[in-house]
Symmetry: C3
Subunit: 243 residues, 3 copies
């Protein structure tokens, strides 16, 4: 399975071009899943924490094509990561760094191959997709890769006590793993206290709460309301334990 | 064919996670079609009428994975419906009730099976997708199901004289089936009279009209304009026959 | 490969219905790629130039299902085009005219077949999809087609010195092919001078520039900014050489 994780948006022709490249360079019977194309723009840090959480639900052997690449055409490296049996193809700009930092088993390679036609602005289509397609097809592109001991852009394995994503309901996902927060602890955003709850259905309509979401992250929500609007949350908003 | 019908939106990672679950639990050669991921939030009634209209164009054997589920984690049942040879998997909260009420042949089952890892907030991925995947793969999950005579949340088979969906052109779909409205009848929204027309191309630019849309519903439109903006329509706006 | 190119949007149930029709009328193992569903509404001219640029990256044999069809239900013809070994199915309203004008080899056919159930407003699903599905499955629908020497709605092969698309980053794609503009030429939008650059990473943050994008078009961008907002660009904005 090839899993797409980008900031390309879903309105534009970029995802389609990348999928066509995957089909042209790989096997047409490998499923392609659009996981997320709205990773916060220009923000590999939030994207790195969100990817680390989302990947936990995918089976070993999955190939993540992860492209948030504001430095495309500059000097950042292109890399392949194998972390706990899953593969990641993308830029070495931090986007893969939390997955790497938390992995129990880890290898990484620089992509030294360059296609004959390489646009300066769309390595997702021209460089990363052909490599991901071959890995997903079971053909390891050894000649294209040079193993390296670590990523250029490393990050800590620690949680990030910030909002990292706001979904279309207005729920605010944080970079805090719920397993690291006692279940009965109230949190706070600014001066607003956010009590815990197990599930939407047990909270009165309109009330803010936090809960462990379906990928294990602390998520701030308002039952049948828009938490981001009500609480003034944005990607980067700091989350603390209430005092 | 598995047909997805949700309010998950298309910006967020929820559809992708559900598709990955379908692939992990089913056959990878069963096509998955995204029918709609913007069913009006928290509104199973509009969604029920829209689903009843949209499903008419699908072949028997299609499996609809239909999830608008604000009560997830509460006490609503999870059900499978077979209606006129098509299958529906989702919550028993009204979303499937118009399909059920209009079906000529009808059976229903409660899903008693629970997966080992069941998130409290994402039954689409953890509970409904595995069941839908197995049905679509031709493996009836008998051990997971208990037949029940009816749905908990029943609705009338009657049309709904309200706007149930506004598309990105601004066209307003109603819950009225055109076959139940004489073709030359003007309708009204508030004080505004809406004459009938057969097709956009026969109406002057900027003029409001209603017509039988491609799934048989009365739809209010403005030729080369945005009917919802021009007429102030929203989901729930009442539609009457003009007097 | 079937490539979808429409103005249906991605929020609404129209793309899904068209895909279901493709699957019902064709082979389920032919991949379907969503290239773009946000072609500027009601504007076959911009859409024609964008399609001509995007198609260059696809392999011969690809089948484009291209539907921007404000005149559906009127008297425009439905056509199939073969241009340089690729196929195009859609309305004869200009949308395919730039591809046709630039093709080295070219044939065209009118679609005379009509399905038993033909909605007046959704030929994408009822008329174009079945034809595209059969072509992509390798079954040429000879009985449905009548060869014609040319399209009714012809356009010039020349570039269009206008903005033809604005992406979600705010980058403005123009109808000018970069190969026709000297690389060191500054351009202008209104009174604003737009210098050239090779790539985002070599331009200071916040500065406007133009570059050859990944499909060979002149594109106006602002490094880590929104060019359309900063420069007040919209589809149709005129682009000139700076004096």
């Amino acid at each position: 399975m090839i899993v797409l994780y980008t900031d390309f948006g879903i309105d534009d022709p970029y995802v389609g071009q990348m999928k066509a490249a995957l089909l042209q360079h790989g096997r047409q019977d490998v499923p392609i899943v659009d996981l997320l194309h709205r990773v916060p723009d220009f923000d590999p840090r939030a994207g790195a924490h969100l990817l680390a959480a989302l990947q936990t639900r995918f089976d070993p052997g999955s190939v993540f094509l992860a492209v948030v690449d504001p430095g495309v055409g500059g000097d950042r490296q292109a890399v392949v990561l194998e972390a706990d049996g899953k593969f990641y193809v993308g830029p070495d700009n931090g986007l893969l760094a939390v997955v790497a930092a938390r992995a129990q088993t880890f290898r990484s390679w620089r992509i030294n191959w360059r296609p004959v036609e390489l646009s300066v602005s769309f390595h997702g289509r021209d460089l990363f997709a052909p490599i991901a397609a071959r890995i997903a097809a079971g053909e390891w592109p050894a000649a294209a890769l040079a193993e390296c001991g670590s990523l250029d852009h490393a990050m800590s394995a620690d949680d990030l006590a910030e909002v990292i994503y706001i979904d279309h309901y207005g729920n605010a996902l944080t970079g805090m793993r719920a397993v690291n927060v006692p279940q009965d602890t109230p949190l706070a955003v600014g001066a607003v206290r956010i009590p815990p709850a197990r599930v939407f259905a047990e909270v009165p309509t309109g009330q803010a709460f936090w809960y462990e979401n379906s990928v294990g992250l602390v998520e701030i929500a308002v039952n049948r309301g828009n938490a981001a609007s009500v609480l003034g949350l944005a990607v980067g908003s700091l989350v603390k334990r209430a005092t």
